[in-house]
């Protein structure tokens, strides 16, 4: 899977797609591959304040739990309830239908955000180190 050009990526493998003051957040294809079959996704309630770099939810496979870290600061304006009902969506379409939250961006973004090319390189290095 290639990484969309308009996405930005965190070193913890979250993606963010900004559209003016709104942003959509999810986790990357690399992340879902590492986790394996997803069984549960825990998302914050609408209205929750997110702080860039802090955990705001979790993703679970059978044998592991991973926290999801906010790439941007802001307020949660929508959550993907389809994803909550069908966590397996994260394995099949992590960059599209399995978006997690929509955020009204208020503060600074995580300054470690990478563009698609940089993230691909980052992932390649991580794979090599395994």
């Amino acid at each position: 899977m290639s990484y969309p050009a308009n996405f930005r990526f965190t070193p913890e493998h979250e993606w963010v797609a900004t559209d003016g003051a709104q942003a959509k957040v999810g986790i990357t294809d690399y992340a879902q591959k590492q986790l394996g079959d997803i069984v549960f996704v825990e998302l914050p309630a609408v209205g929750t304040e997110l702080v860039a770099g802090q955990a705001f939810g979790t993703v679970e496979s059978v044998k592991a739990v991973s926290e999801i870290f906010a790439p941007v600061s802001g307020t949660v304006s929508a959550i993907n309830s389809t994803l909550v009902q069908s966590p397996e969506l994260l394995n099949s379409d992590p960059h599209g239908a399995a978006w997690m939250v929509e955020v009204k961006v208020t503060g600074k973004a995580n300054d470690k955000l990478m563009d698609a090319a940089a993230y691909e390189k980052f992932v390649a290095e991580e794979e090599a180190n395994h």
Binding site: V39, F40, S61, V62
Partner: protein, 496 residues
Amino acid sequence: MTSPTPRASRHIVQNEDLLFEVSSPGKRGYQLPALDVPAVTLAGARREIPDFPEVSELEVIRHFTRLSTWNYGVDTGIYPLGSCTMKYNARVNEAVTRLEGLGDGHPLQPEELSQGALRIMQLLSEYLLEITGMDAITLQPAAGAQGELTGILLVRAALTARGDARKKVLIPDSAHGTNPATAAIAGYTVENLKSNPDGTVDMASLDRQMTRDVAALMLTNPNTLGIFEEDIHRIADLVHERGGMLYMDGANMNALVGRSRPGDFGVDVMHLNLHKTFSTPHGGGGPGSGPVAVKKSLEPYLPIPVLRVKRGKPVLDYRRPKSIGRVRAFYGNFGMFTRALAYIMANGSDGLKQTTEDAVLNANYIRRKLQDVFALPYPTPSMHEVVFSDSIQAAQGVHTGDIAKRLIDYGFHPYTVSFPLVVRGAMMIEPTESANQAEMDEFIAALRAIAEESKNTPELVTGAPHTTKISRLDEVAAARNPILRWRPNKSDAAQS
């Protein structure tokens, strides 16, 4: 398929439905004596228990007997789970536990009528203190994790009393999951301490991270890789110098009993697992017992009641103003005290030391016979357990979990898979002293054969087990849509 080795054989094992599927209205498995007092009705009594089973006594016997045949126990054969210490559970321990007066003694009956039980607790306490080299002990915690919690609460109480509660606990990244979970319950935040490449504590990291904000370092020694912390004195000194305490997780005491004592190498507080080192039965997941032994400085904070000897008689002391309180009702898992004491008495000083030596020899024997086919992540000497990694086999797409499942086809219970987390694809093997050479040789032969299969016919391993009642279950579906209880069929449709 034919059996791979002589250890594994096929024969008929009965199937058995759920109790509710065997149940039939009107069947009964009990008879109460006739009521010798007037019957009484209760206003507002419950409706009958919905769908509760009704079976005969014989059906109960067959049900639980058949179910048991699908399990594997220490009685069945070598049980190489790492850090679980699956050793022989002697039957005399069961007999003494059930003696009239002990098996049916009530914890709240008068102390003068409980002298036997208190004497047992007193003697066990003395022996455990001698074994650990510590000064005082509580038998109250119900299991290892509760022991850990008790220990950290004691640390916190002592530090609070000197006006310096501190905020953090340091835990090596190789530690058992109960360690950080415990620290959190005691109100501490957890800071991970990075291990050396060989799994031992990195002194430089410790020096950096052991600040005046750290209440304790929680260590397992030997660590979860079966490696003894050779720097333990420097570790203890550093922690003490900075005003903290050293907690030891005693899960791996089977490598130390009679040979080394934590109290002698700087430990302030530790727990023991009676269900590991001291042979009380694992029972399918418990009960356990997690006594906590401490140095003098922590003695005032021990949970109440504290067992003391007054004029030669054991008494329960409740006048302990500095005590942290109670960590559970009553005195602890007394049924495990009788078993552990019987174990210690049967072994004695000579047997306990021999047990430790055999446990360490066995692990090293297995290590020597497998190190040419499985990767050894660290060259450091192993004690009572050895940790391999699946890195050689992983190149063929075969992982530790697969190898473990293929072991079942060979007639063995798997080793511990994927723990400790610091080793990728960990295979943790602890044979204990209860493995004889012949069986270890069969176990070794099985693993060598599986290593071959991983090269030549990996599907045999990745699809294992092939010979069991059920094969790999869809754990993903089970977690996505959990079915956690039986429900009666509303129609002919499959149960949801």
